[in-house]
Subunit: 410 residues, 2 copies
């Protein structure tokens, strides 16, 4: 048996595995709202300037600042400029009522806000020969200049940008209706075990319902992955190999999936179906110095990256959160890393020497953290009550009540 | 003009508006994975215990602890118990090879891990009359007892629980295939303005592309809302009223939407279409002591809750993040509140007195925050570069470089 690998070393190995030659570089064009949560595939340059024309920052009067001496001036009121209109040029001695966002007329160079005008209300647009008393202003005042947010041809968003509401809002402001995004990684997710039944079937003695499939598919969907499920594979290695082979090869020789993830069958028992199915493949089964989630498989099945998680649901979630999710964040920038906090233990803890223990807990509003359930990796109800993973480093065996620990918010 | 309302007071008003009699209490049944990110509508009790039967926590030998004296004993090896099997009762003087997760046979009360057995490997299952030397153990050792995670009939998840991967994993472990969730709130989103064009149309002088619709729909979708778009409404109040009326009433007298959100037309200019369209409705237009996003509309249109956001994209995003999103979090528990941090300014800032200023910035890896763009509410490119909202309270007008400010991570 090899020496346990550290959590950091195994995470690096997962990053290396997923950054390898089979990494997916395909892109897809999506309508803006369907691109939400995806990653821009290309540098995007602005097809137009923002703002596209000089416009008013205030409701007020567009003026030529040179028309108003230091002690103010009475100007003749021109036709109003509503937002959306292409205004007539402003004649000398005139002031045009202008709305926020409306185009600054040719000949004007500043806006005097309505509340500084006398009278401080807009005249009836039908009235003729109306004057307004305005204070002096300087060129550019309350004018949003063309291109002051971004100039035509400038880099709007670099490749690799995560597309959230603000980024999609920018693309819309630039007149774009779609975005070229990175094609999501496609994962084949296989849960294994003679003891595992699909939810909804009737439970017979010795059997349990598969929660790993739901738990991991939900986690992967949240991370933007495209998940292919095979159903549950029993403990026959030949059948498992057949299932995997059916999904890795396609007619044109391309891989149909970018990653295989299995659960269960990676330990040292007598019936370890994933270990057995991987015989002859470039796959290692090794202990990672972590609890739960110690036994891990990693390598390639017929050239396709492969990760073998252990079979207990808490071990699966911890494996996902400790290895696959951070690797995706590091390589693709998506999903965002889990927010990290420090929290005070409300109870003392002990942890096995030489293992990074990952407990589940609830971070309370006062910044303390309460453990949910014990260390057992089968405690899925306790997991479902938790809002955080609690980290106890491998060199720590005892922690007193009130000690500060690192927590990752789920 | 009324005195500006504080940000907190306006947020409370939004909470009150959305908690009112028209609040949506409908529920829907969804398959587990489609319930991801939704909120459980009912208390959910466990239909079975977890674990459903006593099972082994280790690969090892199931024994009756009374068979092994303090100095150990040689026991006869019984037929192995794989996971998923319903084992024969254990006969006195026998030890059954058992795998992690397999059912503890009747007559056994403890498991001795394989590494403490001599020999420390499982015998060939075909071999007969094999003995194994095992150390003493105490009842219950390495046994996961029935119901030790949750007992049949116990509360598994209370109504109002956010359904993430762990919660859905629990439901699957309980054998459930679907969940009853709260029906998402349906929002009618209307962007207004004569100057606004749909992205993809050709831009004419004085016009800009609508980014508010995309920005807000994306934000609302992320918060789990169901968004109905009407396209852009021009500055004719009668036409806007007709659009709203078409969406609020249905044949059976029920509201077809739970909330109306408009953008633009709430300020004090000469052409404020939303203000004009709301004449005769129970709607207030008022200044909130916030920059950007100061002018806000709030009330009911034909009984349906209504929020009128200002027209600039940054104002829209800030209005959403400061009022609607926190109100949804408070009322429904979804979405999760924005993570709040403290960050050091890399530059001095000034802010208008009496207004809570919300700037956009990038929180850097060293915990400092750099402003993106100025205070202008039209700077959507600067917004798209930001990862945080930076808060400058209303009683602060100057902040030195290095000052700590509150930031909300986007």
């Amino acid at each position: 048996m090899s020496l346990p690998r550290s959590v950091a070393a195994h995470r690096d190995a997962v990053v290396e595995l997923l950054s390898g030659p089979a990494a997916n570089t395909a892109t897809e064009q999506f309508p803006l709202l369907e691109a939400l949560g995806k990653v821009l595939a290309v540098d995007l340059h602005a097809p137009l300037s923002l703002p596209p024309f000089a416009n008013s920052q205030m409701d007020g009067f567009a003026v030529n600042s040179a028309d108003i001496p230091d002690d103010g001036a009475k100007l003749r009121v021109a036709a109003p400029v509503p937002a959306g209109a292409a205004p007539e040029p402003l004649k000398p001695g005139f002031a045009a009522p202008i709305m926020t966002g409306a185009m600054i007329p040719e000949g004007a160079d500043a806006v005097v806000p309505i509340e500084r005008a006398l009278p401080s209300t807009f005249p009836n647009p039908e009235a003729e020969d109306v004057d307004v008393l305005l204070p002096a202003t300087t060129p550019g005042t309350y004018v949003r200049h063309i291109g002051s947010d971004i100039g035509e041809g400038d880099l709007a968003l670099p490749a690799g940008t995560f597309l959230g509401p603000a980024q999609l809002g920018l693309l819309a402001a630039l007149g774009l209706t779609s975005a070229e995004v990175r094609k999501p990684m496609r994962v084949l997710l296989v849960t294994t075990g003679d003891e595992v039944l699909e939810p909804g079937q009737s439970l017979t003695p010795g059997k349990i319902y598969d929660s790993n499939g739901t738990l991991l598919e939900a986690s992967m969907r949240q991370s933007g992955l495209d998940v292919v499920r095979t159903g549950i594979s029993d403990d026959d290695p030949a059948r498992l190999r057949a299932v995997l082979n059916r999904h890795v090869a396609s007619e044109d020789g391309q891989h149909r999936v970018d990653l295989i993830v299995t659960t269960g069958g990676v330990s040292k028992g007598a019936y370890e179906v994933v270990r057995q199915a991987m015989a002859g493949q470039h796959v290692d089964f090794l202990p990672v110095a972590m609890q739960p989630g110690g036994p891990q498989g990693i390598g390639r099945f017929e050239g396709v990256p492969f990760l073998g998680f252990p079979g207990n649901p808490v071990s699966c979630l911890v494996s996902y959160e400790m290895f696959l999710r951070p690797a995706l964040s590091q390589i693709h920038g998506v999903p965002a890393p889990r927010p990290v906090q420090r929290a005070r233990l409300v109870e003392p803890l002990h942890s096995p020497e030489g293992k990074h223990q990952v407990r589940r807990g609830t971070v309370l509003p006062d910044g303390s953290v309460r453990m949910e359930g014990g260390a057992g990796s089968h405690l899925v109800h306790a997991l479902a009550r938790s809002n955080a993973l609690v980290h106890i480093p491998s060199d720590v065996t005892e922690l007193a009540e009130g000690s500060e620990v690192e927590v990752w918010m789920l």
